[in-house]
Amino acid sequence: MALSGVEIFKLLPKTNCKKCGHPTCLAFAMKLAQRQASLDQCPDVSEEAKKILGEASAPPIRSITFGSGDEAVKIGEETVLFRHDKKFVNPCALAVEIKDTLSEGEITKKIEEVLTSEIDRVGQKLRIDAITLTNASGDKGKFESAAKLIASKAPNVPVILSTTDPASAEAAVKLFAGKKPIIYGANSGNAEAMANIAKAEKAILGVVADSLDELAALTEKIKSLGVEDLVIDSGAKKAKEILGNNTTIRRSALKKNFKPFGYPVINFAQRDDSLHEALIASVGITKYASIIVVSSIERWKNLALFTLRQNIYTDPQVPMQVEQKIYKIGEATPDSPLTITTNFSLTYFIVSGEIENSKVPCRLAVMDCEGLSVLTAWAAGKFTASKIAAFIKESGIENEVNHRELIIPGYVAILSGSIEDKLEGWKVTVGPREANGLPAFLKARTT
């Protein structure tokens, strides 16, 4: 269980030396209790206190870096059950399965798909994060040669080596030395051997059980063998069990501080039907998976899953913003209308969606108003005539359009006169108040 500030205080040197950057030991203890400070800031803490406090101050779900270099992914470290409470921290990794029974050509093709999976969405680069190599053949040689292929063709992609055979795991993991791979497949039968390999090779160990009880016992055992970086699988395959077990694991770790479940969760979502698989993966993305393994990564599926993951992992306390710029919607020409709105993402999405819907090519000027909607930005003095005029002038749009007409949202009709005063030579037209009025408004102008 987490210790209270006073309990932590009792274990500190009580010298009030301020070396930790806090005025008193008690203040430092309070920060430790809230997980806003770390124990190593205190130079004088005793070994005994370190042991007790280290255990108690560890995050409820262990943070693990999977892979190495630029493409490493951080998983775990989650602190809440619901995203509206506080941002979900580390977006779950998506991994595609490659079976070692495939031919070299088929394996190469799948690797290629992973390497070219990157998509840019609202300024973020999203991609398939990892490859899971499964020892479907049961043959050590086949597993090793497939692993070689992956290590040479995709040297930077984090890898999950899935096998229950310690000898196969050991042979393959050596190909990824220093790259923090996951060996997945430690179970009740092979736990010791697998733990030893993971320890020697500095790999993360994937632990799988048939039930939550068995899983708890297994992680305790493996931890006592000296392996601390674990990802855990309750064995759930069906959507109902994935959701139920993921929920139980997350709750146990966060609300009960149940250490045996304080690790990132891995889910296997493979299905024959790719769309069905996408929906099973969606259950994992929304509900507590840290790694999701799928069997195929068609581009349409990647786009949907990446976008869902991005949505779920946005910070609920910070309005999503889009980049300030003038967006072209449809085949906009120099004669197409120019409209303006604020950079609150929802405003942008709704307005651009409706313009798209109208099938009238347009330019949409999106002005940085710190992510506020039109009325709020206006009320806060961030969407004013002088700021709009300055933005339009500085944007260079005057060189791109033949006309000098700006369409403003109906809610800020009051600004039209003063914008015209400040933006010489321009005519300001008042558009509809609600975005859903845009299609009719734009169509009416073209006829």
């Binding site: 959507a239 146990s252 769309l275 899953l305 869902l308 969606g353």
Partner: protein, 313 residues
Amino acid sequence: MAFTVPKETYSGKVYNVTIGTGDNVASFGGENVLPFLPFEGTIPNKPLIAYEIQDVPPADWPENVQKPFSSVSGDPVTWAKFCQDTLKAKAIALRLIGTHPDRENRSPEDAAKTVKDVLSAINVPLIILGSNNAEKDAPVLIAAAEAAKDKNCILGKAQEANYKTIAAAAMANNHKLIAMSELDINLSKQLNILITQMGFDKERLITDPMCSALGYGLEYTYSVMERIRLAALTQNDLTMQPPMLADVGMYVWKIKETQAPESDVPLWGNAEERGIAWEATTAAALLMAGAELLIMRHPKAVEAVGKLIEELI
């Protein structure tokens, strides 16, 4: 360390809503637990998916979702029968989009006739939706509610600007009512309170916190829904206990990701599969957030979400 499953205790329960008449009814809601967690409560009904049809041919729908209905969508009655008989729809949502002043501007009488015709052709429950023009919806939905008197339909959507007339029409003609507010738990609660203060039974309400498509603000709808469900279950907040609607199809099928051809955006993959996946994924996420009633368009997306629900129950 011994492991015990940490169970929540919920003091509240979502209202069980039944629509339709006679042997052809459908129920949704009724659970006293967060979505699909039967180990700590009861879930008497599966979420219900209604097929969306409209009173005018769907020329404004992207081609990939027009296609499955191309031979039937010229007429709402044929379209409705196709959904019921061929696609095995459990409910149908008729959107009277043709009544919108910027569209065909059809009269309330026209709308009433369409509702009557559709009702006489099908036996599954019907959801009757206006065109989302707050002013026009009032007379249109009054006429539609009368035309469907005692058929136990869902009428919608009542919004802050027009709820009085629409709620009165639903009450007078024995229908359920959708109350829609814009992505804010407080607005949603307030509208439910205003409607019940008129004497409308809260157990006949359906909350629509407003849907957003995947990638277009889905996270807002997702969190508003999750918060509504938590308020209903853990705080026993009676005003937050009506089942929730996710009006998925219309929001999903107007964005770029469901329309752009693969030739424009090769990195996005096959356009048809992309559109279907977009609708199904949006629906799946909102099911996890607590939606009990979904309105959807593409048969393949409906089928995939149905399959997911089966696996979750």
